[in-house]
């Protein structure tokens, strides 16, 4: 393989990994608070469709991004209200959110299918982008990719260095003890859920405004679910989410690699790869119950009511 191919593959890997990174980082924060939200697909699709519609109507991608993020957040708050105030089952409610978001986004975007917009463009960062390989891989992207890097840095600091991050972990670890200490468990969880939704919305926006600037029904194609698996893969650590997202990004563009090497394989079979990789990775990780228990937020998925 020549240098250019490798460089191009790495570049495409980072691009493809961006929505995965965003949605997984959001879910990471949500799960750290002890809430399992399986509604990623729904929230991403809502972010994608709203971002696309608003951009089409206003001609301004930034307004599109804001509305898309807001849409993802609203979906998440709907979920939060349901599981925290109405005490519904987190797994079932997350599924409902996915089904609802799939339907609503398809409905809203019905008349926008096939339209095209002027999405985000790449911005080469001076000096840095001329570094061999790394330059093209990391510094020739669009604004949203750079934003995802910044968000990664911020979340890394938040989780490991901030008091708020410590509180978040405490709530996810033992909400009853957190409440006994006076931490506002429900509020903290609401914020974590909303953040998760905003990130999923951003991930969706990235798909419809930057990755492929158009709207297609169900365009996430399971990326939200892969994001969920990524959080498990990363054992709830942000730095591993980054690595995981890149690995999955690589798996998703493997057809490029294989075509580059001159092989002929059915695209349908290659399209299975990211899903199969997810299963294999999950299996490898879940084999060790001790690690699972140590790293999983202890209250994950379990209900906590204000009156408890």
């Amino acid at each position: 393989m020549d240098m250019e191919l490798i460089t191009n593959i790495l570049f495409a890997m980072v691009r493809t990994a961006t929505p995965l990174l965003l949605v997984a980082l959001g879910e990471l924060i949500c799960e750290k608070s002890g809430v399992l939200n399986l509604g990623q697909e729904g929230m991403m699709l809502m972010g994608a469709v709203l971002g696309f519609i608003v951009t089409t109507l206003t001609g301004n991608v930034y307004v599109g991004v804001l509305v898309g993020v807001f849409g993802g957040m609203m979906m998440a708050l709907l979920f939060g209200f349901s599981v925290q105030i109405l005490n519904t089952n987190q797994v079932a409610t997350g599924l409902a959110l996915t089904i609802f978001g799939t339907g609503l986004s398809a409905f809203l975007g019905y008349s926008f299918v096939g339209q095209s917009i002027d999405g985000f463009h790449s911005i080469n960062i001076p000096v840095l982008s001329s570094i061999p390989i790394i330059g093209k891989m990391l510094f020739t992207h669009d604004l949203l990719v750079y934003l995802s890097f910044a968000l990664f840095g911020g979340i890394y600091w938040f989780v490991y260095k901030s008091r708020a991050g410590l509180k978040l972990k405490a709530v996810g670890e033992n909400p009853h003890a957190a409440k006994a200490l006076g931490l506002p468990v429900i509020q903290i969880r609401f914020m974590a859920i909303a953040f998760g939704g905003a990130m999923a919305g951003l991930a969706g926006v990235y798909l419809s405004l930057a990755y492929t600037p158009l709207w297609v029904e169900n365009m996430t194609a399971g990326k939200g679910w892969i994001g969920l698996a990524l959080v498990v893969f990363a054992t709830w650590r942000p730095e591993r989410i980054l690595i995981g997202a890149w690995l999955f990004g690589l798996a998703s563009i493997l057809h490029l690699v294989i075509q580059g090497l001159g092989f002929e394989i059915s695209p349908s079979l290659l399209a299975m790869l990211p899903y199969l990789v997810t299963i294999v990775v999950l299996v490898m990780l879940s084999r060790d119950p001790i690690k699972q228990k140590l790293f999983t937020p202890a209250s994950l998925g379990k209900p906590f009511r204000a009156g408890d």
Partner: protein, 508 residues
Amino acid sequence: MRDTEPRLSLWNITKKYPGCIANKNVTLDVQPGEIHALLGENGAGKSTLMKIIYGVTHADSGSIIWEGHEVDIKLPTDARKLGIGMVFQHFSLFETLSVAENIALAMSDEEPLGITELSTKIIEVSTKYGMPLEPDRLVHTLSVGERQRLEIVRCLIQDVKLLILDEPTSVLTPQEVDKLFDVLRTLSAEGCSILFISHKLNEVKALCHKASVLRQGEMVGDTDVDTASVDTLASMMVGEQTKLEQEYEKVLGSETALSITKLNYFTSDPFGVNLKNISLEIRKGEILGIAGVAGNGQEELFSILSGEIQIQQKQALTINQQDIGALNPAQRREFGMSYVPPERNGRGAVEDFSLEENALLTNNIGNKFGKLNLKGIKQFANDIITTFNVKCHNSKTAASNLSGGNLQKFIIGREILQEPTVLIAAHPTWGVDFGSSKAIQESIIELRNNGAAVVVISEDLDELFQISDRMCALFHGRISPVKPATDVSIEEVGRWMAGVFDEQEAAA
């Protein structure tokens, strides 16, 4: 009233929950530097009252007066700002965080997170009171005693004026209790008020200046501890019922029913305890009491005896010379074994299921070809309800609608009515009111008298001394020597619980 202003006054506190009144017009004064006991049976409303003071829950009516001013304590943070600290019975700690991080979480938001500075302060404060702590240790690696220290230090680090301790001695060895009392006396001498929640009269007598007694949510009176006798306190606590410690006849069994031989178990649970070289003979017609501070391997031992954990060393567990180590709980029940687990809801019973369904849980009553015998199930449930005087609407009532004591009677009844030859019970009367706990103890004694072998694993030494015929203790997954209950003192068992015993002797 003394002429000093009380540090804390509660005035007419009332708190209702759907279907019960936890506190009714409760009034209470705590003076500066006073060690004040709050006595009461399980379910008398002590914990609710403390949670109201600490801002974890809120009273429906009534007021809290702190140093002469009415205060509205909305959150524990408000309580901590006033100088109120609380040590919970079930600790409010975070297993995967470090000691310092646990303490940082209770500090005010205005201060920076500064874990390093905090660590220095932790070492300083904890050494001063003789409760050493390592700030970097993760909580799940701490013993129960160390966790309690952490909870206390977490309060002390913020200039506490009133320290509330909810049943603090239930997790300690007698020797550790003495040490804790020393710390509390020092604090009291420094002017810190202490609210000491307990149902153990001897401890109250040894430590406290004053005692207030709660019964069914109402304050029945307070008294100077110096002048009141244990009997007076006891009758205040349980009312008409005379709480004379029931004495049961002690017997020694002969034939071995269940034997544990050189049992070793390595846990896969990061928070668990390994069991090391445990050998025990459980004999027909006697009760073996296993003492120990929580978290010394009781859960593992119970699960291995019940079959919830199956072991590789099949022959380490034998019943009538047959190896049962690899059998699951249902298969072991075929050998006449029966168990009362430490958790009532969520192990011994399924909360949302009816009593009939819960009766079926451990007794496959006359089912043919996998088809349920609905009549037989109903009959069995009703037998338990009548024989064990379980207070409930009828056999269709959900387990979650029963009080703790009644559900425990139902579970004990379910196991005993199956006429087991070996019964393993984990703290059978924990959190149960006086009436039910007497009934439960009597039924266990009767089972013993009928020739069954009984093991009681409990953290409550008083209870163990009351009903056991022979006793031993678990420490760090090892078992102490076994002695007849009549030949062993509470101090000796206390030493066993702290790990002071000769292993050679134990293994023998």
